[in-house]
Every structure is written in C-alpha cells, then in structure tokens.
Amino acid sequence: MNPAHYDYDTLADLAEGLLEDDQAASVNAHLDTCAECRDRSADLADVSRILAEAPVPSMPAELAARIDTAIAAESMSNATVVSLEQRRGRRHWRILSAAAATVVVLGGGAMVGKAALNGSGDNDHSATAHSPVTDRKDSNSGAPQGAAPSERTQTLGESGQPKVAGPYTVSRSGTDYRQGQLNQQVARLFGKGPELKAGGGQTPDPQLAQCVSTITGGKKPDLVDVAKYEGSDATVIALAGAKPGTWNVWAVGPNCSVLKRESA
C-alpha cells in the first residue's frame, strides 16, 4: 500500500527509525518521487531546528534570589517556608552591611544579649571585662576547653543609623573551634553572659554580610565570630535552634565555603 501521501506521523516515525524495515523502504521509495512528502519531511526537520534555535531564557534574577533564599532557609533545621519577611531580610542585610550599624554581637543567653541583638540601637554597652581568660591564642593547641574568648565587649556607634533592624557585629573571640564541639563552644560563649567578648566588634563587611545572610537564610545570626576552626581561619556563625539553648552552628572558610555544620 502506497497512499497518495504520507502524513507527518509516518514521516516523523521514519526519521526516528521507528518504522519496520519494509515500511521504511516503501516510504523512502515514495519520497524519491514525491516532492510534497519531501517538503513535509523538511517541515519536520524544521520543527527540530526551530526548537533548537529558540533562545534560552535566563532565570529572572528575582527568582534566583528567591530560590537562594528558599534553599538557605531549608538548610536550617527548622525552616521550610520562605516568607516575604525573609526575602526582605536579605535586602536588609545588604543595607546593613553598607550602613555600618551599631551594636554588640554577643549577649547573655537572655536579656542583655536579646536587647543588644534586637538592635535597639541606642545601646551603649561599654566594654566590660572580666571573666577569666583561659586561652585566647590562635593556637592549634587542641584544647578547645581552653579556648575561651578574650574579654572586650565593644559597641560601635559610629554610623548613627539606629533604625536599621537586626544589626549584628562581628566578634573575634579568638576561639579555636573544634569539630564536634561547635555547639558546646558556642553555648559556652553565650553562657558568659553580658561580658561576652566581641574582640573586634566590627560591622560585617559586605562579603561577610552576604555570606552570613546566605547561611542563615536572611535571619539575624546570634553569633558571628571570626576565629579559627581546627586551627585554620574560619568564621563561626550561630543561629538559635528550635529549642532554647540549642544552636545551629556553621564554621565557614574565608571564601564562605562551609567547613562544618553542627546543630543540637
């Protein structure tokens, strides 16, 4: 049987090698003599070509940011929903990093820390210094116990932009964080209460701010400590966990690659 013309389906099957041999032979024989069917075959080839030539759309930047945020949120143990607040949060961090806001990083488990972290902005936590320094060297001493921070708490108020919400500063506790002990070490820092030591007390530079924001999904970190992890330069970022007194802690390298994550 050799119909007057073949339809697109048959010709498409032929092109894909889906026809039985004898049928393929008769279609091919027909194509030799039928210009119209050859045109149809060319139409089919054109379909593939047109599809291939369709421009590749780039992901809209807005969506890329949204997905980044969703992933960052997902990577925190208890966050699954990306809220608008979080998206705004990201923007905030950017503003923040530029604005060099104020305030102490580390507070005691409860009140002082809260007050400072909530960014009332007018705080004047002048340095308090006590709590025995056991060891603040940048050592590889392997003695995490001894890695208690030094003891200055500083407040920087140079920017005069108290309205920015959720400011944090970067501390330099001098702690040499250890694998498996991030949580205890962070908890110990927080346990020190108001005399916690933000040795540097600086606002994060934009790159660090971006890194922190990505890690925390735009949430305000409870601790950003430029310190060491297993003897190498690292920044430790802590975020309160689902239960009080628990922390999600990340140790990230200088390029913001995560060296370790621990949560309790």
Partner: protein, 206 residues
C-alpha cells in the same frame, strides 16, 4: 544579586557538591543550583509556559532536590537527576492545577487556569511565543521529550534517563510531538495572516 562568595567553588564537580551538601554544607547545594539554574529554568518555563507557574515549580524542584539529595545515586549525572526533578515538579503543578483551581472561577477562567498559559508578549523571559504556544498544544509527555531532546540538546538516551522511560518511548514521543508541531510551526513561519491558534504574537489578527 547572587552571592559573590559562592562563585569561588565553581570548579568543584557536581557530585562533590552534592556530597558536601549531604554533609551539611549549606553552600554546596546553592552552588549546584546556581550552576544549573538557567537550564533548569529553561525546562520549567518551556514545560509550563507561564512564568509564575514555572517559578513555583522550579522552587518546588529545588527544595525536593535539596531534601532528596541523600538518595541521589552516583551512577547518574547530577544534571539528569536535577532535570528529572524539575520535570516532575512541573507535572505536579499541572496536575494540581487541573484538579483544583486556586480560586473560584467562572467557566472561562477555569479553562484558562487549566490550559497552559502564554507568557505576556511584552515580558522579557525570552521564550519565543510561536514556539511556546505551539508547545502548549502538546500533551505533557511529548512536550517534555521535545524540550529535552530538541531544545536542550539531550541525546535520546539521556532524555530517557531523565524521564525514566525506555529510549524507544522517547523517540516515539518526539516523533508524535514533531508531527503535531509541524503544521503549527510551519503556519507560524509562513503565514502572518494565519488563523488564531491561541498565539498572542503577530499583527493583531483576532
């Protein structure tokens, strides 16, 4: 807008990124997505047509992939696995939409919600309306096969892995799809005064 700092781990292989992710590195997965997002987006937008739907599907896909990363089998390419998740997320979206429209709607609106949507002709997403509206006429399976093979340049075998069907099935879906698209696209190319086939493009012929 993207994180500056994440660009630096670019040379890490996909599988290594997945492994790091499994170890709790929150950057690893973000980097993986960054790396492949344009292609994932291309699959989603072409499969669904509507940018909003495609965005939601892609976010769904990224989060499913994030959670399922531990089940990734090392013998497949990571991109294959990612694209499978994107296609499945698109299919989920389509099914959900056809089962229950999000808001109460009249008949026309319901129909619109179920039918694949055309992107706004003025938008900047860059999908050719001719192609997009023609693709929208295809059943999902044929559309997905053609997107992977003809548009994304996958081999039949790789597309078969993405869609988890035999290669012969991919061939047959592609053939069916091309046969269906041929008259539509030929018409698009050759006759500006064509009948309205649902496209928004062209010279305002109603």
């Amino acid at each position: 807008m993207a994180s500056v700092s994440m660009r630096r781990v670019d040379e890490v292989p996909d599988k290594e990124l997945l492994a790091r992710h499994a170890q709790g590195d929150p950057h690893a997965f973000a980097e993986l997505v960054n790396r492949h997002r344009d292609r994932m987006w291309a699959v989603a937008i072409r499969t669904l047509g509507d940018p909003e739907e495609a965005a939601d599907a892609l976010q769904d896909a990224c989060l499913s992939a994030f959670r399922a990363a531990g089940r990734f089998r090392g013998d497949a390419a990571v991109t294959t696995w990612l694209h499978r998740i994107v296609v499945n997320a698109c299919l989920d979206r389509l099914r959900r939409k056809s089962v229950r429209p999000a808001t109460p709607m009249g008949d026309d609106a319901t129909f619109d919600a179920v039918a694949p949507k055309m992107p706004d002709p003025t938008d900047a997403h860059g999908v050719s309306l001719d192609v997009q509206s023609a693709l929208a006429q295809l059943p999902f399976e044929q559309r997905a096969a053609l997107i992977l093979v003809d548009m994304m340049g996958y081999s039949v075998d790789d597309a078969a892995k993405v869609l988890e069907v035999p290669p012969g099935t991919i061939k047959s879906r592609c053939a069916r799809g091309r046969a269906r698209l041929a008259p539509l696209l030929v018409q698009h190319r050759n006759r500006r005064d064509r009948k309205n086939v649902g496209g928004v493009e062209g010279g305002g012929m109603p």
